[in-house]
């Protein structure tokens, strides 16, 4: 009995230490997700009678189709570019180990510090023929006016390149790190069997780091889907009207704060949450990425979430 009481007391202290995190998790993770769902059926200007038609109304909004095309176009460039380029660069860095390559890795990480508002400023300059640090390249392509570049149909490419430069360096380093986890014995065995650098990369290294590639893909996909800052600043601060409600998050923001339609904005947020959530569940339950947590994530949990 005394032992039981002792354990109860211990767990009380443990709960107390866990409580600050749990409160944050509940109030800023779980509760807003519930509130977002509850907000959807409330009556608004767009959904006068209220109800779950909010989903239908937001999908039929005249800005939804263009936003979908923009985001799909952006993701169609950004996600594959990230995955193939990052993996390619990491594999190239891993071919031959030289001390001077640490300087290359340091250089690759520098653009990661240029994101959001700073990225908009820097890319405005890079693509401005009179100011650009790559004037020669722009001249080569006969670009003499910034208006030749800053056009609505070019935004998917410009934003994909901006996002790519902000994210690629970090991931090159991380995937390079994942390649370092491959045991020397495996690489030795491949060499003894006569595998070339290319064969080793494709047949040995890539399969061994596949879980990290899935992890990266899910995070890159989920992050890309939520693009907001860059088109919002371009639209409001530099080229007025060039990217109005360009992305889903901008549309969601405009629905909420320009039209007061929080139900529609929440419906859009929940729609966007679904692919991110599925991606998260894929990484957690279908890869052994979080192998440290394996002991605590059992088959039972997998069945609960229906995967």
């Amino acid at each position: 009995m005394a032992k039981k009481q002792h354990y109860k007391h211990n767990n009380g202290a443990m709960y107390l230490m866990l409580s600050p995190y749990l409160l944050l998790l509940f109030f800023f993770g779980i509760l807003p997700a519930i509130m977002g769902v509850l907000e959807i059926p409330k009556p608004s200007m767009a959904n006068a009678n209220g109800g779950w038609d909010a989903f239908k109304i937001v999908i039929h909004d005249f800005r939804f189709g263009p936003a979908l095309r923009h985001v799909l176009g952006f993701m169609g460039i950004f996600v594959p570019l990230m995955i193939f380029f990052v993996i390619g660069m990491a594999l190239m860095l891993d071919i031959k180990h030289s001390p001077w390559k640490k300087w290359l890795r340091m250089a690759y990480i520098v653009p990661a510090s240029i994101s959001g508002a700073v990225a908009v400023l820097v890319w405005y300059v890079i693509l401005q023929p009179t100011l650009s640090p790559i004037k020669g390249v722009l001249r080569y392509f006969h670009i003499t006016e910034s208006s030749q570049i800053w056009q609505q149909q070019n935004l998917v490419y410009i934003l994909a390149i901006m996002a790519f430069f902000a994210a690629a360096g970090n991931w090159i380093l991380i995937q390079y790190g994942s390649l370092q986890s491959i045991s020397t014995e495996v690489l030795e065995a491949a060499r003894v069997d006569g595998a070339s650098v290319w064969q080793t990369a494709i047949r040995i290294k890539l399969p061994l780091i596949s879980k990290y590639i899935v992890y990266m893909s899910v995070l890159v996909f989920a992050g890309g889907l939520q693009i907001f800052v860059e088109p919002q600043l371009l639209n409001g601060g530099i080229y007025q009207g060039i990217a109005d409600s360009w992305s889903f998050d901008q549309l969601s923001y405009n629905l909420a704060f320009m039209q007061g339609d929080f139900g529609g904005a929440s419906a859009l947020s929940i729609l966007l949450l679904i692919p991110s959530l599925l991606g998260a569940l894929l990484v957690i339950f279908k890869t052994d990425m979080f192998e440290g947590a394996q002991g605590h994530i059992k088959k039972k949990d997998v069945e609960i979430v229906g995967i």
């Binding site: 211990n10 202290a13 443990m14 866990l18 600050p20 995190y21 944050l24 800023f28 993770g29 779980i30 509130m35 977002g36 907000e39 660069m89 071919i95 031959k96 250089a107 690759y108 990480i109 653009p111 990661a112 510090s113 240029i114 959001g116 508002a117 700073v118 908009v120 820097v122 890079i126 640090p133 430069f165 360096g169 970090n170 991380i174 790190g177 994942s178 370092q180 986890s181 020397t184 014995e185 060499r191 080793t200 889907l225 939520q226 409001g236 601060g237 530099i238 007025q240 998050d249 929080f262 947020s269 949450l273 998260a280 957690i284 990425m289 979080f290 440290g292 947590a293 994530i297 059992k298």
Partner: protein, 314 residues
């Protein structure tokens, strides 16, 4: 950080001057040259935007157009740009800088403490719903925080915290990635037997954390603080939604405000008496980007170890 498992053979090879398998393989010199050239080319390309950003405030607006983008102006240029920025809205740039520092510092402190405690409890206790906490944490970690920004605004509005810095600080202090890192760290670096023997010696759970886990947590704390800093210093979306008043802006929000309200890069704004041009805007941008760059450069290993938590060998 001891969350990583070291392959003993690799380590011993390192000591004696490791010769990687790939190095011993026959490689075509031309393809090696091509690969090296490409790697160097991309490194140079990666540095160009930052070089421009750091050098731009050393020149004045006219010099930016006619001098080389890679030319250095003068140190006085930085001082002039800062003076001009201070003319804007009675020196609000100082407020933005101060806000950025205190919001980020508060987030780093709260997030690091709560995440470290959560990771410790999940790893060292047998509390109920442990798996549920862990799975919720992993899901929250992989879902981008901006996905919930609209419902979070509705929630903050209900408790009258909109336009209050604590809305951003509290929301951003939820640090599921940090809690997961802490959990992995404590699980792999502190054996369960250590906790058991400390308990037998009469150590309660608070002391278990403060006397056993905390003294062994220096690498973890620096890792948690690093990720909390880089995730929040340049954050734009959450403060943009939660803090409409310019006196509550952070530097990134302030930079966006400068785009909008000065003719520096916005042709839609007519001439103003405030001397805010491209060098001034670039200085504001450098104040945001350079601290993150420094953190990245000095913490490369932390980035890799953190993102591949627990599953990487060196």
């Amino acid at each position: 950080m001891s969350t990583t498992q070291t392959d003993p053979k690799r380590k011993s090879l390192k000591k004696v001057g490791r010769v990687p398998a790939s190095k011993m393989r026959h490689q075509h010199p031309f393809s090696t040259f091509l690969v090296t050239t490409w790697l160097v080319f991309f490194a140079i390309l990666s540095l160009i935007p930052m070089i421009w950003l750091v050098l731009a405030p050393s020149k004045n607006d006219k010099e930016l157009s006619y001098r080389s983008p890679y030319a250095f102006g003068s140190f006085k240029g930085y001082l002039n740009a800062w003076k001009h920025l201070k003319y804007f809205d009675n020196g609000v740039i100082g407020t933005w800088l101060f806000n950025s520092i205190w919001y980020t510092a508060s987030i780093v402190i709260i997030a690091t403490i709560t995440a470290a405690l959560a990771g410790f409890v999940i790893s060292a206790s047998n509390i109920r719903f442990k798996r549920t906490f862990l799975i919720s944490t992993l899901i929250m970690m992989l879902v981008p925080p901006v996905a919930l920004v609209i419902p979070l605004f509705v929630e903050m509005d209900k408790v009258h915290l909109v336009d209050n810095p604590w809305s951003v600080i509290l929301i951003s202090s939820l640090y599921p990635f940090g809690a997961f890192l802490a959990y992995i760290y404590y699980t792999t670096s502190i054996p369960a037997e250590l906790y058991e023997s400390a308990r037998l010696d009469g150590c309660n759970d608070f002391k278990l954390f403060s006397k056993i886990a905390l003294p062994l947590s220096t690498p973890l704390i620096s890792l948690l603080a690093f990720f909390a800093f880089i995730g929040n210093w340049a954050n734009y979306f959450m403060p943009y939604v939660m803090l409409p008043s310019s006196e509550h802006y952070t530097l990134p929000l302030g930079l966006g405000f400068l785009f909008l309200s000065t003719p520096a890069i916005n042709p839609g704004v007519g001439a103003t008496s405030v001397p805010i041009y491209k060098p001034e805007i670039a200085l504001a941008g450098a104040l945001i980007a350079v601290p993150i760059m420094i953190m990245f450069l000095v913490s490369q290993k932390r980035l890799i170890r953190g993102m591949l938590a627990g599953s990487i060998k060196e």
